[in-house]
């Protein structure tokens, strides 16, 4: 409940007299004495941010905004605060949105945060107002081609642990059917690398003719774009398009839904147009030829990645893979498919955990893990490389270690195909 806030100083000196505690108590002014409308005008004049001015305050977004459920943030509130003269450019609100698209799904006025956020953030970045940890991720990406800050030369090192040949296009010197765009977390993060190895083994077992760019690949950049670094995104896209253009292949398969989004909607604008599928879509079509040799007698639930589901409408492919795994019981959480909750990693959230901590009662990933546990899931299956690390941290921080495991669908599938003996399903 919003109440008048008392301000008490330990000691206040008034006319040379020391007053302490309740004797100097004051209250923050609560009266709105001015609506500085120039602020709303300034924000909605930014190309892409026009629709913020369309809000008619119904509040539908608030109920489905994952960030509001752990804090005090929703598109409706952003409009009111901006109308009141609190500039989004200076407000922490600007960095809390994960661009999960749930507000746009229900908004009767089509206030489009998916356009507003990157547009206003770009302005804030130019004005030097972005949080430091986000700038670090941008700098890493610019310098090393990945936001983590890992060496660019080590981008293909994970292939050594795959146990099957992972052809690198520059060495293969022959056309392939599938160009696998691996992305950063699947190439560098320890758990991401395990999922990549599993996917490589699945490809090999299915006889997929594939290759990767290896060290020629850089981050696809979509989350940097959503976080306000369009210039960096364009640089990365131009590089990747140039590298991809050197080789002949029939389609791109991506591990990362954010890369999927970029290849589907953004790269074509910059001259890079290829057929692209998420790996779950690619594998779902090949299910008939998959030989499963063992089952997983577990209750599994699936977390829809925002950029595969709500952004691009794919809900079925990952589920068809999970349903095909022998002995698996697939359960749906209350928030699933179109209404799915968010892991908190999108739109730059992956690099803002320190910043958002001050504005949220808990992480979105923690809330999601609690929901999975509430629905009795023993395995939380994911298909976005942001999610294994985020949810595994959340399993620990919410005290559910040993109760629920987080696995990429590729890991589970490889396990059932007898290709992932190392996977410890407890």
């Amino acid at each position: 409940m919003q109440k008048a806030k008392a301000i008490e100083l330990e000691i206040a000196v008034v006319d040379g007299v020391e007053l302490n505690g309740t004797w100097n108590r004051m209250f923050e002014p609560r009266v709105i004495s001015e609506y500085d409308l120039s602020v709303l005008e300034e924000i909605t004049n930014i190309p892409g941010a026009e629709s913020l001015g369309y809000c008619y305050q119904c509040g539908k977004c608030t109920a489905v905004c994952p960030v509001d459920s752990v804090g005090d943030y929703s598109p409706r509130k952003i409009f009111r605060r901006t109308q009141l003269g609190i500039s989004l450019l200076d407000s922490p609100d600007l960095w809390l949105c994960t661009t999960c698209r749930n507000c746009l799904r229900v908004c009767p006025k089509e206030v489009n945060m998916i356009d507003i956020m990157p547009a206003v953030r770009e302005q804030a970045v130019l004005e030097g107002k972005a949080p430091a940890e986000l700038l670090t991720a941008f700098e890493n990406t610019a310098r090393y081609g990945n936001p983590i800050g890992e060496s660019a030369r080590k981008r293909a090192d994970w292939t050594k642990t795959a146990g099957v040949p992972v052809p690198v296009m520059s060495q293969k010197k022959a056309p392939v059917d599938v160009l696998w765009f691996v992305e950063c977390y699947p190439a560098y993060h320890p758990r991401g690398k395990e999922a990549s190895a599993a996917l490589a083994r699945i490809f090999a077992a299915l006889g997929v003719d594939f290759g990767i760019l290896g060290t020629e690949e850089k981050c696809a950049g979509d989350s940097q774009r959503m976080a306000g670094e369009r210039g960096l995104f364009e640089m990365l896209a131009e590089h990747n398009i140039k590298m991809l253009s050197k080789y002949r292949f029939n389609e791109i398969v991506v591990t990362d839904p954010h890369a999927y989004n970029a290849f589907l909607h953004e790269y074509p604008k910059l001259g890079g147009e290829w057929p692209v599928r998420h790996y779950t879509q690619f594998l779902a079509e090949k299910l008939a030829g998959v030989n499963f040799v063992k089952g997983i007698k577990k209750r599994i639930t699936f977390h829809d990645p925002c950029y595969l589901g709500r952004h691009n409408g794919e809900y079925e492919a990952p589920r068809s893979l999970l349903r095909a795994l022998p002995d698996v019981e697939l359960v749906e959480m209350g928030h699933c498919k179109q209404t799915s909750y968010c892991c908190g990693g999108g739109g730059g959230g992956m690099w803002l955990d320190g910043f958002t901590r001050d504005y949220a009662s808990e992480r979105l990933s923690e809330r999601r893990v609690k929901e999975a546990v509430e629905y009795g899931a023993e395995i939380l299956a994911v298909s976005c490389p942001y999610e294994v690390p985020r949810f595994e941290d959340a399993v620990k921080s919410t005290g559910h270690d040993g109760q629920i495991q987080v696995m990429d669908i590729a890991e589970l599938m490889a396990y059932c195909m007898g290709l992932n003996e190392g996977l410890a399903i407890s």
Partner: protein, 353 residues
């Protein structure tokens, strides 16, 4: 030879009936065509009481309906559809069709279209508020059907609800759905229904979740203040986004926008305040009489606020919700105005001849 004595009126709801009565009073003949077996239109068929005065519909409208049936100047054809029209003012040759597909061609001098609206169907959007999923999510129309039987119950149990939530603006004011307009009457009808529920169930908690209460004119104190002050109905600013089943109840999720806090409250019964869309008959008449539809899909009129009944086609007029969301008051006013203009047009034509 121009026909200057007959006005065809399509649709026998409040607007069509008022147009028919007025044309008859002004001394012309009326051909009143109604597709349904009964006349009286949507309010008479679907509403137990009228807004804002809570009169029983039968008591309020029964005598008008009977007056139409017995008026010698009104040739009433029920179960009849207009399927074709040729010609112009003074000589419209209109083809009528019976349920057995018998067609008759009639000649009329002018036409009043009063084909009204239909209620928005929440199922049209993907699982909107779970209307087709949860028994205890109903619409204003479903609630009226219960009121006609003198009750309000939870369909899932047959028991009286302890808590009821109205959700406003369902299918209205929504760019994504494509209905960019306010349906005008739903705020009043929800308030009226909340009074009726409290009369039957004084201990029930009744909530109306709204974006803006549109209680124009006298509706403000006649129903809004009355509901809040006398019947203790609770108005909460902020709309419900989703309805989810929890246990045997319905969890409504939304925002209390004046408090700026999310709402997750259990309810026994949820009533969707569904808005208006052009009826199928209105869409068909637009094609048959070549009357264009305005950008919201209703029949176009030419005079803006200063002529609410003339269409771009000379000799064709419109009354009521065929021209956009209307309450009964406006519908009846338009019925009279359309009749007067139609008769005036025929009189001018008679002078020219």
């Amino acid at each position: 030879m121009a026909n200057t004595d007959t006005v065809l009126i399509v649709g026998a709801g409040p607007g069509g009936m008022e147009a028919a009565r007025t044309v008859a009073e002004l001394g012309k003949k009326v051909l009143l065509v109604e597709a349904q077996a009964e006349i009286g239109g949507t309010p008479y068929a679907s509403y137990a009481t009228l807004t804002p005065d809570l009169q029983e519909t039968e008591a309020a409208m029964g005598h008008i309906v009977r007056g139409i049936r017995h008026n010698p100047s009104i040739d009433l054809r029920v179960n009849t559809r207009v399927v074709k029209s040729e010609g112009d003012i003074g000589a419209f040759h209109v083809t009528l069709e019976n349920p057995d597909a018998t067609q008759t061609v009639v000649e009329v001098g002018a036409v009043v279209i009063a084909t009204g609206f239909q209620h928005f169907d929440p199922g049209r959007e993907t699982q909107m508020y779970g209307y087709y999923e949860y028994d205890d999510v109903i619409t204003l129309v479903d609630a009226e059907a219960m009121f006609k039987q003198g009750k309000i119950i939870r369909p899932s149990t047959g028991q009286a609800p302890d808590s009821v939530a109205f959700i406003q603006c369902v299918g209205s004011r929504d760019r994504q759905i494509g209905n960019k307009y306010c349906s005008k009457v739903c705020c009043g009808i929800a308030s009226k229904q909340s009074i009726e529920i409290k009369r039957m169930l004084p201990n029930a908690k009744v909530f109306i979740f709204y974006i803006d209460m549109r209680m124009y004119g006298f509706w403000e104190d006649q129903i809004y203040w009355k509901a809040q002050e006398e019947y203790k109905v609770n108005y909460v600013r902020g709309i419900v986004t989703e309805v989810i089943r929890r246990g045997g109840k319905l969890l409504i999720k939304g925002e209390d926008t004046t408090m700026g806090r999310p709402v997750e409250v259990l309810m026994d019964l949820v009533i969707l305040s569904v808005g208006m869309e052009p009826s199928k008959g209105t869409v068909q008449m637009s094609k048959i009489f070549s009357v264009p539809r305005e950008e919201h899909g209703f029949l176009q009129t030419v005079g803006g606020p200063l002529d609410t009944v003339s269409t771009p086609v000379p000799g064709i007029f419109v009354a009521g919700a065929a021209a956009g969301p209307k309450d009964i008051e406006d519908t009846v006013s338009m019925g009279g105005a359309a009749a007067a203009k139609a008769v005036g047009a025929l009189n001018r034509l008679a002078l020219e001849v």
